[in-house]
Amino acid sequence: MDSLIAARLQMALSLAFHMIFAAVGIGLPLLLVIVEGLWLRTGKSHYRDLAHKWAKATGILFAIGAVSGTALAFELGLLWPKYMELTGAVVGHIFGLEGYAFFTEAIFIGLYLYGWDKLKPWAHWLCGVAIAASGVLSGVLVVGVNAWMQLPLGFTLEDGRVEVSDPIAIFKQPAWAYMAVHSTLSCFIAVAYAVAGMYARSRLKGDRSDYTRSAIVVALAVGGITIFLQMLSGDLLAKFVFQTQTAKFAAMEAQFKTERYAPIRIGGIPDEETETTRYAIEIPGGLSFLATHDPAAEVPGLETIPREDWPPVDLVHGSFDVMVGAGTALMLVSLWFWIAYWRGSERALSSRPLLWAVALCGPLGFIALEAGWMVTELGRQPWIIHQVMRVEDAVTPAGDVQAVFFGFAILYLLLGTTSATLLWKLRSQAGQSAGEGPAE
């Protein structure tokens, strides 16, 4: 394994790991604010129990999110020093803005988790609101840096000298807005369906309490709204990618040839050698319509791009299909649930097939999130900064990258399994009063 592969694997591992916890940091506070708010309004104790339980889960998840985020702050520079020299100079300050938001989130997390007995109920709830807002804001801001990597602007580069003309150029681009909305919604979706799935399992095991019932209703209300918004935002984002990143768009749909009436391809095996995609289900004109609202429009294929600038087509196309497939499943199950709920809430919440479907949807939101991240990042390859810097030119010349990768792989494995085990245990504990701090 050479340094480049090791560095890429370590970066991928660090991001894939952090993303789960970061998504929870963005999504779970919203659910917390809702159930705690319902408790304050109605005084029903099961809402309070849910808030306590979810707050405890937040305690672990946020801490692991904070440390894995720190890892990224280090590793961007440690693994990709040349990348960081340019990125820092042009958009480093966006990380600064994110830093303020994250700082606020970390402060209010402390107040929220340890402040149940020290703050007035409404003040405690407001701390939750502050976490939810700053969590979203920090995610939205950091996506600004990623958007800049896809669409680098606001600077000139001559003989290695960087001049910055507009430090906030990326915020004036629709790319950032589309990506920020899409990624924020994906966090809400991932968390909402994971929560709904977990409590659907409890109901399948015979727990018919108000506690599990409210958890599912709240989670699927958030999940149901956000999944529909997500379809819209995905459509806008795809159109924008079509206009700005030809290679990524073509790879997403395994479109090798430039053609009119380009089809949407579902599944299939893209073959970069023969420049064909076999065994795919094709919807003629679908892709042209998706990209431009005109089924006859011409879609440029990968053949317009020099071969050495191609992203890995099979991975990008496969990830795209996984993302869209998971999203579609979530949307259908939400529809099913809310139609059934509208026709009779008790029946909906005890229907075994429906509960099974919700339970099976539990991991799909996170799978879609990871797959979507793979689409956007692998689709940018071989560039680390689109058409400005290639990944292999950014990697550190330091030795020992392999050893560090293995060390951190073990660390992530340890952190991942331990958090999962502790959360699993937490799940089976009866709802108890939160008292001072998480399990202190």
């Binding site: 801490a63 904070a66 990380f95 803005l97 703050l119």
Partner: protein, 346 residues
């Protein structure tokens, strides 16, 4: 505003973030040290009070490090890259410690089943040990990195190639001494803070620890200063220069004053002096470091980002502070405002 002033303001901002990280994050690492070395009849009580003090604030304290990194790579990107290459191993080890420290702290909390019983459950105990050991790693390695930097071991060519003067420069007596000094200072700071947050016999426990760590710190500081003369001659010259020496002496006076206050059981004073010591000594380092970011090849000006970037970040600082400042004040007021008599109860 001239470019030079702007760049130095950015350097000052990085230094302030480092001071805050040392004051708050450093004390949390020190807390981990005393958790690891908790002894005597009040062993469990010592650990409880450390966990109690850290619990609500460690994540916020930790963000100072992230801000420091952000200011460095935003305002000094051309220096950040070479530092990341030259200090690849020590920074990764420090990061390893930082991650494991934070994770094991929550893992231990959640491995305990309830408030009072089962605190000694084997898994909780294991995570407690990991927490303590991990707390040693990061201050040690960050101190070593400081040593390598001030030793002039990191060379950057005109084309941006990075190399060390010697192989494995972090294994020098001076660099390791800097690491030990950083660790011992964190331990001292934590012990001094904890005397203020406890009472009764538990407070006496931490007072003894403060005296121990203070003595160690003084001895190490003497040793490192001597080593500076032999192994980091440029830095020695900077430290003893007329613009730096007075600051250094004020820092040493603060250190002595805080030691005197601990000895005389004036805990509030000792806390103020200890914090002052850290701030003033780091200020002294900042002055000594000028005009270099990486001696001898890269000045702050060489490393600086384009003007627009630095100006933007500095402009946002007051707004960031306006949000973070009051929030931080609230956090401290709620959890540190009233002195709880933790050690008094049995």
């Amino acid at each position: 505003m001239s470019d030079e002033l702007l760049v130095h303001l950015a350097g000052g901002t990085a230094l302030v973030a480092l001071m805050a990280y040392a004051l708050f994050g450093g004390a949390d690492f020190g807390g981990g040290v005393w958790d690891l070395f908790a002894t005597g009849p009040r062993k469990q009580l010592q650990r409880d009070v450390i966990a109690h003090a850290m619990g609500p604030v460690w994540e916020a304290n930790h963000v100072w490090l992230i801000l420091l990194l952000v200011v460095l790579f935003t305002c000094f990107p051309n220096g950040y890259g070479p530092l990341a290459i030259a200090l690849f191993i020590p920074f990764h080890l420090a990061l390893f410690g930082i991650m494991l420290r934070g994770a094991s702290f929550v893992f231990r909390n959640y491995s305990r089943k309830s408030k009072l019983t089962d605190a000694a459950a084997p898994l909780a105990r294991l995570w407690g040990t990991v927490f303590g050991v991990a707390s040693l790693i990061s201050p040690l390695l960050l101190g070593v990195a400081f040593g390598v930097l001030t030793q002039g071991e990191i060379r950057v060519s005109d084309t941006g190639q990075v190399h060390h003067e010697k192989p494995l420069p972090w294994l020098s007596f001076y660099a390791i001494g800097c690491g030990m000094l950083a660790l011992s200072t964190c331990a001292y700071l934590a012990a001094v803070y904890l005397t203020y947050e406890t009472s009764g016999e538990l407070r006496e426990d931490f007072r003894r620890r403060a005296i121990l760590a203070g003595t160690t710190t003084a001895v190490l500081a003497g040793g490192v200063f001597a080593a500076t003369y032999f192994e980091a001659r440029w830095f020695f010259g900077q430290l003893t220069s007329p613009r730096c020496l007075p600051v250094l002496l004020v820092g040493l006076f603060f250190f002595a004053a805080s030691a005197w206050a601990v000895y005389g059981r004036r805990y509030w004073l000792s806390r103020v002096f200890a914090a002052g010591e850290i701030v003033v000594l780091l200020l002294g380092w900042g002055i000594a470091q000028l005009p270099y970011l990486i001696y001898p090849d890269m000045t702050l000006m060489d490393a600086a980002a384009p003007r627009a970037t630095i100006a933007f970040l500095l402009t946002t600082l007051p707004f960031g502070a306006a949000i973070v400042g009051p929030s931080l004040w609230l956090l401290m007021k709620v959890f540190k405002g009233e002195r709880e008599e933790v050690g008094g109860r049995r």
